[in-house]
Amino acid sequence: MSNYPDENGRFGAFGGRFVAETLMPPILELEAAYSEARNDPNFQEEFDEFAAHYVGRPSPLYFAERLTEHAGGAKIYLKRDELNHTGAHKINNCLGQLLLAKRMGKTRIIAETGAGQHGVATATMAARLGMDCIVFMGETDIVRQKPNVFRMKLLGAEVRPVTSGTATLKDAMNEALRDWVTNVENTFYCIGTVAGPHPYPEMVREFQAVIGREAKAQLKEREGRLPDAVVACIGGGSNAMGLFHDFVPEKSVRLIGVEAAGRGVDTGLHAASLTGGAPGILHGNRTYLLQDEDGQICDAHSISAGLDYPGIGPEHAYLHDIGRAEYVSATDDEALEAFQLCARLEGILPALEPSHAIPRTLELAKELGPDGLIIMNMCGRGDKDVFTIADALGVEI
């Protein structure tokens, strides 16, 4: 199964390279450069060096004793990727892509961002490697993620507001693609999730796979065995794919992705592409999309800006269709409640994104019973979300 994608970037019927002709040469160039880099021990060495001393890897695998007690079942471990430099798993991927960009001689980095975590991580690596950085961000998201906007600016990045469409993540991605098509010579597009045209879904997965590799070894050391299940939230799906990847061949391990159900999957106001979408073509890949009966893309809705995307990475679409991974969802309200629970019981402010994974993890713990073992990816920290949460709780700060 780790042989996916094939040489055309296909995960079964999903993935591919659905881009305008102008972008075909640059994505083929990227594919060649990536394939050369991944086989170069020097590249891996440079990645590992930064990962250890700049990002702070390995991130801890923490036994969440009080959440475990609260659920009353399986032991819940949290993979603490929120403790990475910049506060989320996003930096793993940005580190890899920007080292690759440097190797390719590109001097200008562009990125799209939703919650701002990927934008901050890209701006951080661009600052560190001395590159120009432009981050496209929907105006709606700029309003709800002000702290991250300011952080990006402090890091020397230019944040370009995107007003088209719904002014959220998908529109930021459209705008980044437009920029790339116009500046292909010197520009590297650092996509933040396991989506987009081949080789992005594979490349981003490989840079994020460090999460699952570490977690697998850490749990082995702590418990002497594999987990029964691994759980992660899903927008585009990079933290989930990063956690899942090393467990895909381990048939005894359940892979569980939690999509954002917004106000409820049956209300139409959600971001659950697998639960409530259909296969289609957007942003360079064939995957499950939220779309209407005429194939127009629908607006996603989630309290979490990072999950507010109408598509999902093509490998998740594939794992879903072959039944290897399970995909469930959690609503805005469930995520808010879980956020508060985690804060009080564990002293951890989770980002709103992993807050979606918590309620399903608690249920699963109960289902598996006290002999079970679960790893949940705590992929980001919640400092960026305190204004949104205060607002949702009706508190003025």
Binding site: M24, N174, V181, G280, L282, G295, Q296
Partner: protein
């Protein structure tokens, strides 16, 4: 049907002049107005019509065409109503080729075979699907071949010699050369570079080459027509429509006449005898 495309280019060749291709967004600002504009295009000098199919996320287009697509969607345009527009047009014109242009998802959602059959029945001659590069268009091409429809490919300044054979293989009707690496509505590429590219693509494909992206004035149309088999204008026509709309984006008394007047002046320039 590629016959209408082929006979258009052989007529132009016999007259020793370049053609003029007019793009507009179907359903912008509403179905009836848009259909009237379409009906007026041949008389205004359009040799080929590109009928835009709106999409919510047109990542290869600039703001002019994106906004036109959103206006069209707001007026409830669907893929079916685009097909209906072509059907209506064909009732009075059986010569001017119609090429539909848009993005893959709505077509994929309808189903490639169903779309090809419906397009054929509507009197459409071919399609340009911006985000289906040769690597991804085999299924749609097979469905189009079943109905003798042309799936027209784009070549761009980034299409180098190694890639050009991939781009032209299996294409029918003509090749669309995008003169700049960028989105629609940007500046036109340098004329010498355009001339070289046209020659290169014509040799590789054995097909007529039309040139678009960035043509806004009669002077530019005239210059492109020196080398290309036809000049394509899109954003400028769409912009001419947009400028006539009222504050709610609705049609006014000049919404039909203004774009047609622009097409008349641009097509006259493109049709001038080559120097």
């Amino acid at each position: 049907m590629t016959k209408r495309i082929d006979s258009t280019f052989s007529r132009l060749r016999s007259e020793n002049k370049a053609g003029f291709v007019a793009y507009f967004m179907g359903g912008d600002p509403d179905y009836d107005t848009s259909l009237e504009i379409m009906k007026g295009l041949p008389k205004a000098g359009a040799d080929i019509i590109e009928l835009g199919m709106p999409f919510t996320d047109p990542a290869a287009d600039g703001p002019v065409i994106e906004l036109a697509g959103l206006r069209s969607l707001k007026s409830k345009t669907t893929l079916k109503s685009i097909l209906k527009m072509a059907t209506e047009f064909r009732k009075e014109n059986n010569e001017t080729p119609i090429i539909v242009m848009g993005y893959a998802n709505p077509v994929h959602h309808m189903g490639y075979a169903e779309f090809a059959a419906a397009a054929k029945q509507a009197g459409i001659d071919g399609a340009i699907i911006v985000d289906l590069p040769p690597e991804e268009d085999a299924d749609l091409r097979a469905a189009f071949d079943d109905h003798d429809l042309a799936l027209i490919r784009l070549a761009t300044p980034t299409t180098d010699d190694a890639r050009l054979p991939v781009v032209v293989k299996g294409t029918k009707g003509f090749v669309y050369y995008v003169s700049v690496a960028g989105i629609t509505g940007k500046a036109l590429g340098a004329s010498e570079a355009v001339a070289n590219a046209v020659e290169r693509i014509r040799t590789a494909s054995g097909l007529p080459v039309v040139v678009g992206f960035g043509i806004k004035t009669p002077e530019q149309a005239r210059s492109v027509a020196q080398d290309a088999d036809a000049a394509v204008v899109g954003s400028a026509i769409v912009d001419a429509i947009a400028k006539t709309l009222d504050e709610n984006g609705q049609a006014t008394s000049t919404t039909i006449s203004a774009p047609l007047a622009l097409v008349r002046s641009l097509s006259a320039a493109a049709h001038e005898p080559r120097i």
